[in-house]
């Protein structure tokens, strides 16, 4: 009997103009990807605060993806550039405290890259599946959980 | 500076003066060459005409040998060797299936990080300033036509070196010796290449066009960086003369030989005496010894 495959939970924070639209395009093109991801639509990667990512882990995510427009494509011109700098700092910090790039992913997916979206999301899911459930975070999430 | 050295078959045979001159010049330029042990055929000519996998696996083996000798850079003086080595590396890294096959043949993982370079690239790394500082014999009186042939800069996407249609890197290096380089039109035209043996008529005709244009534009000498080019342009001049009696001979030197002259080496040391077309006049022009 083969063991059931671990189904990771991925939260994706995406910008409305590029990645969300790119994900729509994947749908319109009837491309298929694994269903383990839930998107949260934001106006811009500039809106994505590191606390969102931490909160997603606190809520049980095994992996997080942040995705927005390629530099130069930002609907708001600069939002993604500020976000990029922010996430250089934050991803380094997360890596330092033990949340490395196998759980925390970043991508630029434009509105026309439906295929890339599918590739990125499958890659993220596969990578997280490989490293398994985020037991380390689950342990601290379970402190004070009521066992019935 | 230490650089790996892949001589290939030509440099041990018809092109041995290329090997001689190159080793001498590089030692003057403080470049140590480390020949890769147990190297084999680069896969040019026969292999890549008959068996694609073989033509990739042969250079792959050589690259892995270089890797094992911890060589960061591998010099392939022969343009054909250069082309095979760099081309195979490119192909393997862009084709996972091929990589698997090659690894099966090699019986090891292919993970080459060695950079394959040609002689012009090596001299660029050495630097014009360095060459200039060591020049003993000024070549300011001679005019040089730089002949690139087909393999040195192509395919551009793989070599990522110079402009395939209008290369100028050799001219730039030669300017360090003080020699003048002429603007001419046949620097990338075909010399007939491997037809040398089977279709002498084609080679004679194509080579003649190249030699003529060089002369027409005032060159005293043609400089090449490929043993095949050299053999066609140098060896075929007698045949040309038979067909076109008015043909005047023009010496064809390897890039290393020309630089060797400038660095004060004599003709014999550089193997210039081994050429079919005499270069004695050229050497006299710069008052260099044969």
């Amino acid at each position: 009997m083969s063991e059931e495959k671990f189904q990771p939970k991925i939260v994706a924070f995406v910008c409305n103009w590029c990645t969300y639209t790119g994900a729509d395009l994947a749908g319109t093109s009837r491309l298929k990807y694994q269903p383990n991801v839930r998107l949260i639509r934001l106006p811009c990667t500039g809106r994505i605060d590191p606390v969102f990512i931490i909160k997603a882990f606190e809520k049980g995510a095994d992996g997080v993806l942040v995705s927005g427009c390629h530099p130069g494509d930002c609907h708001y011109n600069l939002g993604n550039l500020h976000a990029r700098r922010r996430f250089i700092l934050f991803s380094e910090l997360m890596n330092y405290v033990g949340i490395d790039s196998s759980r925390l992913h970043f991508s630029w997916v434009s509105a026309s890259e439906g295929k890339k979206w599918v590739d990125v999301i499958n890659e993220v899911i596969d990578t997280v599946r490989e490293v398994g459930p985020f037991k380390k975070y689950q342990k601290i999430n379970k402190e004070f959980v009521l066992h019935e | 500076m230490i650089v790996g050295y892949y001589p290939g078959c030509s440099l041990t045979g018809t092109g041995k003066e290329y090997d001689m001159s190159l080793r001498k010049v590089l030692s003057l330029l403080d470049v140590q060459v480390e020949e890769i042990n147990d190297w084999c055929c680069c896969g040019a000519t026969s292999a890549h005409a008959t068996n694609h996998l073989l033509s990739v696996a042969l250079p792959a083996r050589n690259l892995m040998l270089a890797q094992k000798q911890n060589l960061n850079e591998l010099l392939a003086p022969c343009a054909a060797c250069y082309n095979r080595l760099i081309g195979s590396k490119h192909e393997i890294s862009h084709n996972a299936d091929l990589k698997k096959k090659v690894e099966f043949v090699l019986e090891e993982d292919f993970n080459s990080s060695t950079e394959v370079i040609n002689i012009v690239q090596l001299l660029q790394k050495v630097g014009k300033e360095k060459i200039k500082s060591l020049v003993k014999v000024s070549l300011k009186d001679i005019k040089v036509a730089c002949y690139y042939g087909c393999l040195l800069v192509r395919p551009n996407a793989v070599t990522k070196f110079d402009d395939a249609e209008n290369p100028t890197s050799m001219e730039d290096i030669i300017s360090a010796t003080g020699a003048l380089t002429v603007e001419w039109n046949y620097k990338t035209e075909c010399c007939g290449g491997a037809h040398s043996i089977a279709r002498k008529d084609i080679v004679t005709f194509l080579s003649k066009n190249i030699l003529d244009d060089a002369k027409l534009n005032g060159a005293h000498v043609i400089v090449v960086a490929c043993p095949m080019c050299h053999s066609n342009l140098d060896m075929r001049q007698r045949a040309i003369k038979k067909l076109y009696p008015s043909h005047e001979e023009i010496p064809v030197l390897y890039l290393s030989e020309l630089i060797g002259i400038a660095l004060g080496l004599n003709g014999k040391e550089l193997g210039i005496n081994l050429h079919f077309v005499d270069a004695i006049n050229l050497l006299q022009m710069v008052k260099a010894e044969m």
Binding site: K9, V11, W17, Y20, T21, A23, D24, L25, A26, G27, T28, R30, L31, K32, Y33, Q34, P35, R38, L39, I40, R41, L42, P43, C44, G46, R47, I48, D49, F52, K55, A56, K59, G60, A61, G72, D73, C74, H75, Y76, N77, L78, G79, H82, A83, R86, V118 | N156, D163, A164, E165, N166, T168, E183, W184, N185, E189, L216
Partner: protein
């Protein structure tokens, strides 16, 4: 709060992979959901009525529609909600089609995911607040940047509708590239004959303010309310006094020195000059880089001969500020400069063609000037090197275009046509001449275009060779063109007297700078990026800015003119109302908590954050805190994410809403 959930089957589109009935049933258990139902087609009239009736009958406060992407029908459903009497911002969409049913095929997984998406939307909508659109007044005045045919057309269309236009041209005269052309395809009518009346019309139009020799320096504000700073470069001429008599130009002692831009270097001009005889305005300009007075302090010949004392050597650049409501960018193109590598070293030149080295290897615009009756040869086809008539001429298409090696993969679109035109003009003027055209493909899509090319081949005997040229070199006074005829499968060598290269149309060299000034996205080639390639081809992502002509991509004259009129129409749509309604999703500052570090101000792409004074009871300023100018804010939320204390929040996507959305995941994860 009573929330209604409406799950759409979208026919089979959603229904076949998402069990919509189950989603609706399970959604009913979500705290706050008072009503939940599925329907075959939610966006249809009956479907919308289901929503409207439920809102009225169940007294719903907010609705969630699980359907296609919000980009598709958010507006539809928000309107339906509004029709039924709730604020339209209390309607949220769960995207269960594009991001669920269409991309997954396992029904249980897709159904679970759909329910999650519904739950996320429910949690968000619980925290939505009723909003009203922001109204901002519209300045009914347009700025047109670029005075080529596109700019001229856009300016005239807007002005003729009764609105003021400011037309800015960086050169001393309007007219653009079209004024350099000899004849135009496919009719072969004289370019200047059709253009110059338009130029004069612009000049005389009471509603058009023409600023030539000027450049846009700074653009502030937003749709309907732009403030534009324009630099008027010093002409060294008093424009009020100058009558355009031209005496100064005749008397200028350095006639043969300066590079003549208009003639593409095929002729020279004096230091004081008008670019061409029909220039508008007909006012000269002094080229200070060559003028003897500016170089040595002596001469002043122009000043001496000018009866109107219109020469102003001390004139300075001045800055002009204009208030406009819309901006039309019509900055056009440049020809790919083939003689040297562009600064961006990724792009390689065509050294093998010898442009720049051989005087008789010229580009298309130079040929236009040679063929033009007002050009340096008065329309006679003479080659630049020795002014003899070329008997054999080779035209090469796609020089730069469609050549990834040189950095431009795109087709320049007009070269097939103008090369045919050039060959034809040549054959018309040199009857015994031979014309060869090397081409890759003939792309003659357009009214009467294919016929035009056929005419060149069949009636005028132009020889078309399908293939590329590898090398051009000089031998015995001839230009040896070596190429390949791919149809015959043979190499071709032509000993030509002259070669014309149809070089690529590329973006203006400073296109990216202007783009950044205005806030317009641009593609990797530097062409401005439209919002949607099909449905919104003249708009850019910055609202109120429109594109016309070749600044967007290579275009011919009729396309440029059509696009210019379209851009004008878009401006007029804007001017059709006194107020603009804008999405109210803007940032607001929690003034009690703002510490005034102003990181928000630093990251705001729109300069929408201002420093607001905080005063004590005595009226003394005791602190500064951030304040959002809602007119400028576009709602990106970068400030919100940057603010360490979250004292600035983006309405519609505030922290509480996003928190609730993230939290909505946990059930599926616990």
């Amino acid at each position: 709060m009573k929330i209604g959930v409406f799950v759409c089957h979208c026919g089979e589109n959603i229904g076949k992979t998402v069990d919509c009935a189950t989603v609706a049933q399970r959604a009913a258990k979500i705290p706050g959901v008072a009503y939940s139902v599925d329907n075959k087609y939610m966006c249809s009239d009956p479907g919308q009525n289901v929503i409207k009736n439920a809102i009225r009958e169940k007294k719903l406060d907010a609705v969630v529609v699980a359907s296609c992407s919000p980009h598709m029908h958010e507006k539809t459903f928000r309107k339906a909600a509004a029709d039924a009497g709730i604020n339209k911002y209390l309607c949220e969409i769960a995207n269960v089609r594009e991001q669920c049913s269409w991309v997954h095929d396992n029904i249980p997984d897709a159904t679970d995911k759909a329910l999650d998406l519904v739950r996320i939307a429910v949690e968000k909508v619980k925290r939505n607040i009723p909003l009203t659109a922001i109204r901002v007044p519209v300045t009914k005045r347009a700025l047109v940047i670029g005075g080529g045919i596109s700019g001229i057309q856009a300016a005239l269309d807007i002005a003729n509708s009764g609105f003021e236009v400011v037309l800015v041209e960086k050169e001393p005269s309007i007219g653009g590239h079209m004024s350099q052309l000899s004849e135009t395809f496919p009719t072969l009518d004289c370019s200047q004959c059709i253009l110059t009346p338009r130029m004069v019309e612009v000049y005389q139009h009471p509603k058009i303010k023409l600023l030539t020799y000027s450049e846009v320096e700074k653009v502030e504000g937003f749709i309907g309310n732009f403030t534009v700073t324009i630099k008027k470069k010093a002409r060294s001429i008093d424009e009020e006094k100058c009558t355009g008599c031209g005496l100064c130009i005749q008397k200028c002692p350095i006639k043969k020195k300066a590079f003549n831009e208009f003639e593409e270097g095929l002729a020279t001009r004096p230091a004081i000059y008008v670019p061409f005889p029909q220039a508008v305005p007909n006012i000269p300009v002094i080229d200070r880089s060559v003028c003897t007075y500016y170089q040595t302090g002596k001469c002043q010949m122009c000043l001496k001969v000018c009866g109107r004392e219109a020469i102003l050597f001390e004139q300075q650049d001045t800055l002009v500020t204009e208030e406009v409501g819309s901006i039309v960018i019509a900055t056009g193109y440049k020809l790919y400069s083939i003689d040297k590598k562009p600064e961006d070293s990724e792009i390689k030149g065509y050294g093998e063609y010898g442009y720049g080295k051989y005087k008789d290897v010229i580009d298309g615009l130079q040929f236009e000037r040679i063929a033009s009756a007002s050009g340096p040869t008065n329309g006679e086809i003479l080659r630049p090197s020795d002014k003899t008539q070329p008997k054999k001429i080779v035209f090469i298409q796609c020089v730069g275009s469609r050549d990834e090696q040189k950095g431009f993969s795109y087709c320049s679109k007009i070269c097939c046509m103008y090369t045919a035109k050039h060959a034809m003009l040549y054959k018309h003027k040199v009857h015994d001449g031979e014309a060869y055209v090397f081409y890759m493909d003939i792309r003659a899509g357009g009214k009467m275009y294919e016929e035009f090319v056929r005419r060149a081949i069949e009636e005028d005997g132009v020889k078309y060779i399908r293939g590329r040229v590898s090398k051009i070199y000089r031998q015995n006074g001839k230009y040896i063109v070596k190429g390949e005829d791919t149809i015959a499968g043979m190499p071709v060598v032509i000993d030509a007297d002259m070669v014309v290269l149809a070089t690529a149309m590329v973006a203006q060299p400073n296109a990216s700078k202007l783009a950044q000034t205005i806030g317009v996205p641009y593609d990797k080639y530097g062409f401005y990026q439209e919002v949607h390639p099909k449905l919104r081809p003249v708009e850019v992502s910055t609202a109120g800015v429109f594109l016309a002509g070749a600044c967007q991509s290579p275009k011919d004259i009729p396309e440029s003119v059509a696009m210019a009129s379209a851009a004008a129409a878009k401006s007029l749509v804007l001017f059709g109302s006194d107020y603009l309604e804008r999405e109210p999703t803007v940032a607001v500052v929690n003034e009690a908590n703002c510490a005034g570090c102003f990181y928000c101000l630093k990251v705001c792409p729109y300069n929408a954050i201002e420093k607001k004074e905080v005063k004590n009871k005595l009226g003394e300023i005791i602190d500064y805190i951030a304040h959002v100018n809602a007119g400028l804010c576009q709602g990106c939320g970068t400030c919100n994410a940057t603010c360490p204390s979250k004292s600035i929040e983006l309405i519609g996507f505030n922290d509480e809403q996003i928190y609730a959305e993230i939290n909505a995941f946990s059930e599926s994860f616990v």
